[in-house]
């Protein structure tokens, strides 16, 4: 075949090749687009809802719930509680979609070094989650601004900080999700674990009324992430919230990698 000499001159492969392949794969299935569309709709609705809550709280007869002028960035941060699950779904499908169809064996044939495959998948998921989070937070908060009227606060610097914090949070949550998917393989298992870790366990601990449990909840990834995004926490400075979240993502990545290396495809 004449192509033999030609293809041999091409460069690429290894990690850059793996990232390019995973990027191509992410944008050549419909689920990615549907998830992004769903996340956009949900972000818009959640931001409008939170803006209306703010108007109601400030406009009613009860002065104790007044929020005063609200920075619009915090509206988007509030909406993340809901929107994150759609983007978690997007990240999860990048890996569990391959396990459920058997396509993971093809992927590992192209990229046989497990570490490179997982690194490429988490990088792509992190970039998509981070970019989508940033763009959606910006759009959602700006959409809430006219509705809030005189109660809406907008200063470019803090707003940009809020929006980028949402992006960073969703990037790390996406990395955590893909790593959990590598560890667990099944979509249902991954989703259950993510729900438990992100939502159920911290909520139960916080509702326990026991201080020690509540302190443990502060170190769960979504709680730490929220502390980082809101810039407030009783127990630690906000930047530590980011580090705690990053530590969860890194731990999941190491566990996923260890499982992938040990396991036959």
């Amino acid at each position: 075949m004449t192509a033999m000499t030609e293809t041999r001159t091409a460069t690429g492969g290894r990690l850059p090749g793996a990232v390019a392949a995973e990027w191509t794969k992410a944008w050549t299935v419909r689920s990615t687009y549907w998830n992004l569309f769903g996340a956009a709709v949900l972000m818009g609705l959640a931001c409008l809802q939170l803006a209306i809550y703010t108007l109601n709280a400030n406009g009613n007869d009860d002065p104790s719930d007044d929020k005063g002028v609200v920075a619009v960035g915090t509206i988007a941060i509030g909406a993340v509680d809901l929107v994150q699950f759609v983007l978690i779904g997007l990240a999860m499908l990048l890996i569990t979609g391959e396990y459920s169809t058997g396509a993971i064996r093809a992927t590992l044939q192209w990229i046989p070094r497990r570490g490179e495959m997982l690194a490429a998948k988490t990088a792509v998921a992190g970039v998509i989650g981070g970019a989508a989070g940033t763009v959606l937070a910006a759009a959602g908060s700006l959409a809430a601004l006219p509705l809030l009227g005189r109660w809406g606060g907008f200063e470019f610097g803090p707003w940009l900080g809020d929006v980028l914090a949402v992006g960073a949070y969703l990037a790390l949550i996406s990395v955590f999700t893909v790593s959990a998917g590598a560890l667990l393989r099944s979509a249902v298992g991954t989703l259950i674990v993510i729900f438990l870790v992100v939502l159920v366990v911290p909520a139960s601990l916080q509702a326990s009324g026991i201080t020690a449990f509540q302190r443990v909840a502060d170190f769960m990834p979504a709680v730490a992430g929220a502390a980082f995004m809101r810039g407030e926490s009783d127990t630690y400075p906000p930047v530590l919230g980011l580090l705690i979240l990053a530590a969860w993502a890194a731990a999941a990545l190491l566990a996923g990698h260890a499982a992938l290396r040990r396991r036959d495809a």
Binding site: E6, T24, K25, D264
Partner: protein
């Protein structure tokens, strides 16, 4: 070239592949035969680094597959045609594959043309028929233009034209000097396609020889004898049986002999004055040779109490 050295794979207590050592040479089509569960797919997966051997090594052109910078340019494989995301189009599947190994985009169109999928490459792979999926898998194996190719049951689901196309493709790939390693359970297909056969059973090597040698080694090279007088044929049978020849009367007037030659059977008939209408050697088929080789090593033997 593929080199297996003491390749072994155990799952818990069961041994899927046991101490397999062999070399699969370039320039030949090497058929890989064995009953279901004999360890063919496991062996192929170990060659590609998908499964980790319990012991031993599997090398592609002298190196472990996972060590190559561009593995798809060293070995192409069709293992499981369904191992494709059903929501992704054939072209995009190959495009992602090409990007992973720095293969130029135009090569995707080339292989799509080679397997005849250019017209449907935009459709989602989940809508493909079994045969189209098989062609997509073959396109993927050819994508990196590799010197080593492996195909696990490549003609599954193909129509007769497709089967012939695969056969000619295998032959031409080998003629270009590539290593072609093909597993199949279709003996007639292997008889026409393969130069050499590797037969395994229960994970162990049973035979590794040229097809002609395996055919010649079959103990079932038999001779058919027909005549108009069943009685005198029975005399001949008794006479030959006294000389250690196995003679079965398959129907009145027809014998099947084994353990003798056409010449000595003809001479015996002449001496006894038995009139013959036919005295012909039956060529052993690969299927017979294979059944003899693997007898006793089938994983899932149907119980055939009456038939035996």
């Amino acid at each position: 070239m593929i080199t297996l050295t003491g390749l072994t794979k155990r799952y818990g207590g069961t041994t899927a592949v046991a101490d397999l050592s062999l070399t699969i040479e370039p320039g030949l089509v090497t058929g890989f035969l064995g009953p279901n569960g004999a360890g063919k797919s496991t062996t192929m997966r170990m060659i590609l680094g998908l499964d980790e051997p319990t012991a031993g090594t599997a090398l592609v052109s002298g190196r472990r597959y996972a060590r190559f910078r561009h593995p798809l340019r060293e070995a192409g494989a069709l293992l499981d045609a369904r191992a494709v995301h059903p929501g992704r189009g054939g072209r995009n599947h190959l495009l992602a594959m090409a990007r992973s190994n720095g293969i130029p985009r135009r090569r995707v169109e080339e292989v799509l043309g080679m397997v005849g999928l250019s017209d449907v490459a935009g459709k989602r792979a989940g809508t493909y028929s079994l045969g189209m999926g098989q062609r997509l898998g073959i396109a993927g194996a050819l994508l990196g233009d590799p010197p080593v190719l492996m195909f696990d049951e490549p003609v599954n689901g193909l129509d007769p034209d497709g089967v012939r196309w695969v056969r000619e493709l295998m032959r031409s790939l080998a003629a270009e000097g590539r290593t072609v390693f093909v597993s199949s359970h279709l003996m007639s297909e292997m008889e026409r396609t393969a130069d050499r056969l590797v037969v395994i059973g229960k994970g162990r090597l049973i035979a590794d020889a040229p097809v002609t040698e395996i055919l010649a080694g079959s103990s079932r090279r038999r001779i058919r004898v027909r005549g108009p007088h069943p009685e005198s044929l029975r005399e001949l049978a008794a006479h030959l049986a006294g000389r250690g020849v196995t003679a079965d009367e398959v129907s009145p007037g027809e014998l099947l002999l084994s353990g003798t030659t056409v010449e000595s059977a003809g001479e015996a008939a002449h001496r006894l004055g038995v009139l013959l209408h036919e005295l012909s050697p039956l060529e052993a088929t690969l299927e017979q040779a294979y059944m003899e080789l693997t007898a006793g090593s089938t994983e899932f033997t149907a119980s055939t109490g009456e038939a035996r």
